[in-house]
């Protein structure tokens, strides 16, 4: 790209709302963020720091109070087909089989049925769900359900993948496994990923850049580039460099704890 603008540009984006008791809350205050195409970004912060709000703003799911958000030069006002979203719970429709869940975009989003079917077969294979296509969600473990959720988000070939704490509800071992799988999926597809988490270790392990957010009001307090080589392995978590990165993130939360 020749232009100076980055792929995703967030400029002075704010979200204010009024609670039922009449209090004015600033969920997000003047966030500026530029994200290059194909990068893996993690947003990390304690609850109430507005990381999910920021993610949904990029997806066009939440109206911003002020500022601008653009993807590829186009201002985001509503969800577009360029977005894939993975939620904290897999949000699978229990009456649809794995394959029918994965290809739901063809039914409800107007995506091309044939292309979606082809990509579904490819991605289901990649995440090890071949042979499970005709099973129903209730027949799968939590980890496999979330794999279906990830595959569904990729199947209409979006440019941006938004992930809202997708592994938070999983057990530790499944979580480790899925982090490694997500990394290899990303390395082959090279989507731009924004991944929200409250786990510092997860944020460092996955990211090219960790964006640290703090609450009241929600704001960016640090932007750390992770220069660990890829593919990263779970053993690297015990390395000195990895530890340096996690403590660099953690010190912000400790500082925040002192402020309160």
């Amino acid at each position: 790209m020749e232009q100076l603008e980055s792929f995703i540009e967030i400029k002075k984006a704010s979200k204010k709302f009024v609670t039922r008791s009449g209090d004015h809350v600033t969920a997000l205050a003047d966030v500026n963020l530029s994200i290059d195409k194909g990068k893996f970004i993690t947003l990390v912060g304690p609850s109430g720091c507005g990381k999910s709000t920021l993610l949904r703003m990029v997806g066009g799911l939440i109206r911003r109070s002020s500022g601008s958000v653009s993807i590829g030069g186009a201002e985001i006002e509503a969800p577009t087909s360029g977005i894939g979203m993975v939620f904290q719970s897999p949000v699978l429709l229990p009456w649809r089989t794995v394959r029918q869940n994965v290809t739901v975009a063809a039914d409800i989003g107007g995506a091309n049925r044939r292309e979606v079917d082809e990509r579904a077969t490819k991605f289901l294979d990649m995440v090890g769900l071949n042979g499970f296509e005709d099973k129903y969600p209730s027949e799968l473990s939590g980890g496999m359900q979330q794999r279906v959720g990830i595959t569904r988000a990729l199947v209409h070939d979006p440019e941006v993948l938004l992930m809202d704490e997708p592994f938070a509800a999983l057990d530790a071992m499944t979580k480790d496994k899925l982090q490694v799988e997500l990394q290899s999926l990303w390395m082959t597809s090279r989507k731009t990923v924004i991944f929200v988490t409250h786990s510092i270790q997860e944020a460092v392990f996955l990211a090219d850049r960790v964006i640290v957010l703090a609450p009241r009001p929600g704001r960016v307090v640090d932007d750390i580039t992770i220069e660990l080589p890829r593919p990263r392995t779970l053993e690297m978590i015990n390395s000195r460099e990895f530890g340096d990165y996690t403590s660099a993130v953690r010190k912000h939360f400790e500082a925040e704890g002192l402020v309160q």
Partner: protein, 276 residues
């Protein structure tokens, strides 16, 4: 590890596409034994011991004979067909209207505030009390019965459909937001399947009510139907005939309810039990 878990989970989950009759177990056997014991006690102990007149309480064997002769000699077969038609037509009509009205009420607060008070008021009127009106308006024939059955079936289906159409989890709605789904697709692919367990709950309540409705309507004014057969047998002091008609009614209501539940289990295969 997760694969191992899912494999064992899979074995426990029944295949949704196949319906199998349960093997006769000890509980089924016990309930049959209870029935046989009850009928035997009635036939050979209660009646002879207390010397009860057959005009008050006939023996089960007399009821069986009355049922047999009613079906193959008398008009009971024709009466059953009439009542079945009334129940079927009224049930389908009432359920369809209940579901159709639930769509605007569930979808819009304005429609709810306009329609709901009238619907609740309608439900508050005892149907038995207004049944004579329907006979005056629609005559002694089948129409008045169908209307009353429809009126009785309508409410449980309506109320359950409203709850069901609103039962979509917020996160599923957000998923559909991501795809910019149209209102129609949201209804077709999200609201409708989420409401199905509730609707079948309503349909199941409605099916037993619809049989009651048909009989009440026939009591008020009819020349044919099971309700009318009960009245005729009563006037003739044919107590065994009354019991035979009641046995038929019980069988119809139980069979219809079982059929609706079986269809519900098949269509709403992802739920353990239909709600309602």
């Amino acid at each position: 590890m997760s694969e191992v878990i899912s494999a064992s989970v899979h074995r426990k989950v029944k295949s949704p596409s196949r319906f199998r009759f349960p093997a006769p177990d000890i509980v089924t056997l016990a309930s049959v034994v209870v029935l046989v014991a009850f009928l035997s006690a009635w036939e050979w102990v209660l009646i002879p011991l207390l010397n009860i007149s057959p005009a008050l309480l006939p023996k089960p064997s007399a009821i069986a004979i009355a049922l047999w002769s009613g079906l193959f000699v008398g008009d009971l077969g024709a009466d059953i067909l009439i009542t079945l038609q009334e129940v079927f037509l009224g049930y389908v009509l009432g359920s369809a209207i209940g579901f159709a009205l639930a769509i605007p009420v569930a979808g819009s607060r304005v429609a709810e505030r306009i329609l709901y008070p009238y619907i609740v008021a309608l439900q508050a009127i005892p149907k038995v009390a207004i049944a004579p009106l329907f006979v005056i308006w629609f005559g002694f024939g089948m129409t008045s019965k169908v209307v009353i059955v429809a009126l009785i079936t309508f409410f449980p289906v309506f109320v359950n459909a409203v709850i069901g159409l609103r039962a979509t989890p917020a996160e599923q709605d957000e998923l559909f937001d991501v795809y910019n789904a149209s209102a129609w697709r949201r209804f077709r692919y999200l609201r409708l399947p989420n409401s199905a367990p509730y609707i079948f709950g309503g349909l199941n309540v409605g099916v037993t009510l619809s049989v009651i409705g048909a009989i009440v309507a026939e009591f008020v004014g009819a020349q044919e139907g099971i309700g009318s057969a009960i009245i005729r047998a009563g006037f003739a002091l044919d107590t065994a005939g009354v019991f035979a008609a009641i046995a038929v009614l019980t069988f119809i209501a139980a069979t219809a309810s079982a059929a609706i539940q079986a269809i519900g289990r098949k269509l709403v295969f992802w739920m353990e039990n239909p709600k309602g």
